[in-house]
Amino acid sequence: MSVLVVGGGIAGIQASLDLAESGVKVYLVEKLPVIGGRMSQLDKTFPTNDCAMCILSPKLNEVARHENIEIINNADVVALEGSAGNFKVKIRKRPLYVDREKCTGCGVCATLCPVNAVDEYNEGMNFRSAIFLRYPQAVPKVFAIDKSKCIGCGICYNACVAKAVDYNQKEEIVELNVSSIILAPGGRLFDAKKRGEYGYGIYKNVITSIQFERLLSATGPFEGHVYRSDGKVPKRIAIIQCVGSRDEKTNPYCSSVCCTYATKHAILAKEHIPDVEVHIFAMDVRTFGKGFEEYANRAKKEYGVIYHKARVANIMEKKDGNLLIKYEKDGHSYEEEFDLVVLSIGFEANEELRKYSEIFGIDLNEFGFVLTDSFAPIETSKPGIFVAGVASEPRDIPESVAMASASAAKASEFATERSFAKKEEFPPERNVIGEAPRIGVFVCHCGVNIASTVDVVELAEFAKTLENVVFADHVLFACSADTQEKIKRAINDYELNRIVVAACTPRTHEPLFKRTLMEVGLNPYLFEFVNIREQCSWVHTDRARATEKAKALLSAGVAKAKLLEPLQFVEVEVVKKALIIGGGLAGMVSALELAKQGIESYIVEKESELGGNLRHIYYTIDGKNPQEFLKRLIKEVESNPKIKVFKSSVVESVEGFVGNYKSKIKTPNGVEEVRHGAVIVATGAREYKPKEFNYGHPKVITQVELEERIAKGEVPNSVLMIQCVGSRNEERPYCSRICCQVAIKNALKIKELNPDAEVFVLFRDMRTYGFLEKYYEKASKQGVVFVHYTPENPPKVNVNGEEVEVEFYDEILGENLIAKPELVVLSAATVPNEDNEITSKLLKVPLDANGFFLEAHPKLRPVDFSTEGIFLAGIAHSPRLIPETISLSLASVSRAMTLLSKDKLVMDANKAEVTKERCDACGICVKACPVNAIEIVEFKTRTGVELKASVKKAVCLGCGICSASCPKGAIVVKGFTFDQIKSAVDNLLEVVV
């Protein structure tokens, strides 16, 4: 059975890939003609300023070519019947007016189309044609006609060599049977016009954050140059936060991402325009995610970005287009002039959710987002339908990606069958070792895309003159089905043992040709791709010179092909079990989910009982009972036959690699050895024991201690809470994310139990992100007093015998106040576990600067480690709340299932390999390898034992850092060996322009 994923943004993409990789068939429905979602519009991503397209585009291509994923683009779900495990969905496919099978994505049509239509991808800041591809890297790479703009002139129809344009295409209804559904349609951005006082749509130089994002992008309207409407380069930019967020009139919740993206925009603006001044106006700066606080600090210190703790009242436009901003700060009004204003617009519930709530029968929350439960954050109100990404709450990319993986785990519970591409489909491989190279060359016209600039006929003739080439031809479309047949016939007729295709970029079509080779029993690695389109015909105009260059490229390709070797996919048997380090919430959720998917696991808990930090949480902010939840979890874990729990135990050693580990667990009853295919690190974190504010005095306690007291019925009459204790300082620069929520939670509880109690909260920025904002509002309304403080002027806690008093500065009154509360409660940081370092060494996985575990990529691989087979769950990653911990834990299961669902892992063969004769075990490569894939091992020889480097193929990523480090060329990456590249270089240079 299969899974329907609704929405082709990053969440839908990640969910689809996880499912597909664990053998589940996926239908990915996208309302636009192409997938990619909001992320495809981003220039860079915070907090690393990674290029968004660089990390997204490989995922897009993976989706496009995955045999378990079918993209249904330009389509909507219109009806649903049945129940979990057996849904029947009806999907309406709107016509593209271009035949998906025939279109090669060459784009000639778009260059000829006479229509100028507003380009939605660039947020209306420039034009596109009526037949168009949303963005250059888009997938599926099929053009579509925007019928509302098309004038029906027929130019594209006539220009298309592939005959793909079809004006008469009709709407289609597709019916599918699926076992579960993932809803990931994303969110909608707030319409800034609704905040009329900011003049968006009226003042030309007031733009939205997504427009600014496009301005910054190299593929944006001005190719990455930031200009105002009048072409002037802005020198003073104001960024205004909470436009359509934290606003009673529009959306009362916080959009969670805007503070950090505004920080990114400020940094990028500084990088684009070095002398620009950037001011950010925000009520609170909510950079609460992993690495975000440090990012904002860098913005301030290194880039000189100015943050104002202020509310902007209104904006007026001057005659020269400059803007006067009126804002309030510390109780005073100010006015300042800027030449560009960027409105940080927030997320709203996707307009389609209302429709989906009806079709699917799922509940929405008060804000129109999909309703979820804090102990089941992935589930909708209807069994078998899950949610990921912004559909259930505003969230950033890593959280969306984690949630997407989590939803994939939940959805695959219902997909009982798993299927993988089988090797048997292909005929047995022909042995070519010992044969002299017999190379076949196919030169592609790509319609007119290549042929109009490069003389492809001459190129094919030239190919025939090259050594070892026994066959060469030119074809209209190398990627077409009939060419594949032609290639296969030529391989058989001419006994070819190498194929070179000179066409477009290998980044999209290489897998197709490799498959063609396999279909006639030729090893897929005996294929070489020569790019004469993107890197020749499309970038040159002089036909003679372009043809000469194409010859050089082809000659290099043939030279490299000559040296290609048949390679075997790396296969690793998978032990279908997991080791989970840590038996807290994350570990238990992971183990239970694995069990549901039929996978056994071992939980190793260092303490004598399961539960971790959850044991000390007695109520949640939304009124749930965590202790009941915990009891249920423990019972389920301990009674589950697929889970074995080792309490009071530690992992002593872990040997092996992805799919196949052997570990020793030190238990009270001696050492146990277990075998497993994956590891989940769920070691948690703990509350900081403050050194500040006279902690230790009986009246100065932490939030966890307060909660404990309240649970026992000891409700204080007056409390003063201090936020950011041990966080956001020099020693611990990060934000602990959860403490603002905990403070509000405890404040509300006190008010609930003792309405007359006085509660003060001294804070730097209240970071009640997402829907937590409503509890902040509620607390304010119930009389909890919030007083802002700055790190330069922190409160003082004075102890006088048994009494405590707190002295703090009130900005509004402008004077120091003294409070004598019954209790001073410190919102202490969440700090990494002290054994993290040991675990990190044990597993050879890195820690970040703060001592939490460091994931493979902060954006798109939040629960993976760069070492394959090891995953990260819960707050060992970074501080987070219960639903986020559950989401991250389920995500780690989903990622682990991409391995554990398989009997064998089949990996690409382009891995490092050691030529033993050349290696003398100096170990330079061993230490340079970023994933610890190389080891020095003993080899028996006739004369004795020799030490040599040896590559753990299952671990190697094929980057080749080793090969360039090796002074003797003893270690090479197959497919990019020293001699292959050297030969290519030689031949590239032989043909003279």
Binding site: K562, E565, T915, I924, S965, D979
Partner: protein
């Protein structure tokens, strides 16, 4: 007890199966490295003529071996331990705080070498015991130029240290001076040097770090592809052709020193061995300067320079 007796005592105390030390040649004032058995310990000698680096020899010996090592020799030994070529536990290192060694080519300008019986360092002078009489030469006049820039006169790794520890220097003034020449002057200088290279590979043979079985620049003896015929293998150059010419010689030397970045121990064996007297140390020292100044690498670090992740500049 004089220096040589101290060295002998130390060697005797080592329980090693073999000794690698200098032995005075009979007919000339030269000292050569020899592998001795423990009962031959009295044959050893040590003086400013103890030029060579024993590290390369150590790689060929199995079992426990005692070795006499100057500062640079110990650097080489430690580097080879770092690279897994030697095992510390198999070595007994008698480290000698070194005052510098003699450059024969310089010495020959002062005296007919066949007349020298013995040499001794006395204060700032080198005292030559000649067949008839004695001659004193300021040591600075005959010292190996390489020793003037020595960064590690005191061994960095030893079991016994003979002599008082001495400070090393970090002096790249000669390199900086050369760098001030115009590009054309620099190129003309080097091309005229490399032109003379006969690619005898002596520099490579003596270098303690050039222990590769097969050098990148040599024609390959190993399969280029599974289809390679023996003829193909023999005629397939890895980087350079077989003929000797200034361009290829340049590439040979650049690539060779490039492989020594962060590894060269400064023993000067390459220059000593070069029959054409090419200023090879200058290239090595230039790279040492880069390694120190740009990458802040310290040869004392455990991680090999090439393995180390450096984040430089933007």
């Amino acid at each position: 007890m004089n220096e040589i007796e101290k060295i002998k005592d130390a060697l005797k105390s080592s329980n090693a199966e073999k000794i690698v030390a200098f032995v005075r040649k009979e007919s000339e004032p030269r000292e050569v490295l020899k592998v001795l058995s423990p009962n031959e310990v009295d044959k050893i000698s040590f003086s400013p003529l103890s030029l060579n680096n024993p590290a390369k020899l150590l790689m060929q010996i199995n079992g426990k071996v005692a070795v006499v090592a100057k500062g640079c020799d110990s650097m080489a030994i430690r580097q080879l331990i770092k690279e897994g070529k030697l095992k510390r536990e198999n070595l007994f290192i008698v480290g000698i705080s070194c005052k510098g060694v003699v450059d024969y080519r310089k010495l020959a300008k002062f005296v007919n070498l066949s007349e020298v019986n013995d040499v001794e360092l006395n204060g700032n002078d080198l005292v030559l015991k000649l067949k008839n009489g004695e001659k004193r030469i300021p040591f600075l006049e005959v010292v190996d130029e390489n020793c003037l820039y020595c960064g590690h006169p005191t061994p960095v790794i030893y079991d016994v240290l003979i002599g008082e520890p001495r400070e090393g220097k970090r002096d790249f003034s000669d390199i900086e001076q050369f760098e001030r020449l115009s590009r054309e002057e620099r190129w003309n200088y080097w091309i005229s040097q490399f032109e003379r290279c006969i690619r005898c590979h002596a520099c490579r043979s003596v270098c303690p770090l050039c222990y590769c079985e097969e050098c990148m620049v040599d024609p390959s003896n190993l399969a280029v592809s599974p289809m390679s015929t023996p003829e193909e293998k023999a005629s397939y150059p890895r980087i350079l052709g077989k003929t000797v010419n200034a361009r290829d010689n340049t590439i040979y030397h650049l690539l060779r020193v490039l492989h020594h970045a962060g590894r060269c121990v400064g023993c000067g064996e390459c220059e000593r061995a070069c029959p054409m007297e090419l200023p090879l140390r200058m290239l090595e020292r230039k790279l040492e300067k880069v390694v120190v100044e740009i990458f802040g690498y310290d040869l004392n670090e455990d991680i090999p320079f090439f393995s180390k992740l450096d984040i430089v500049g933007d």
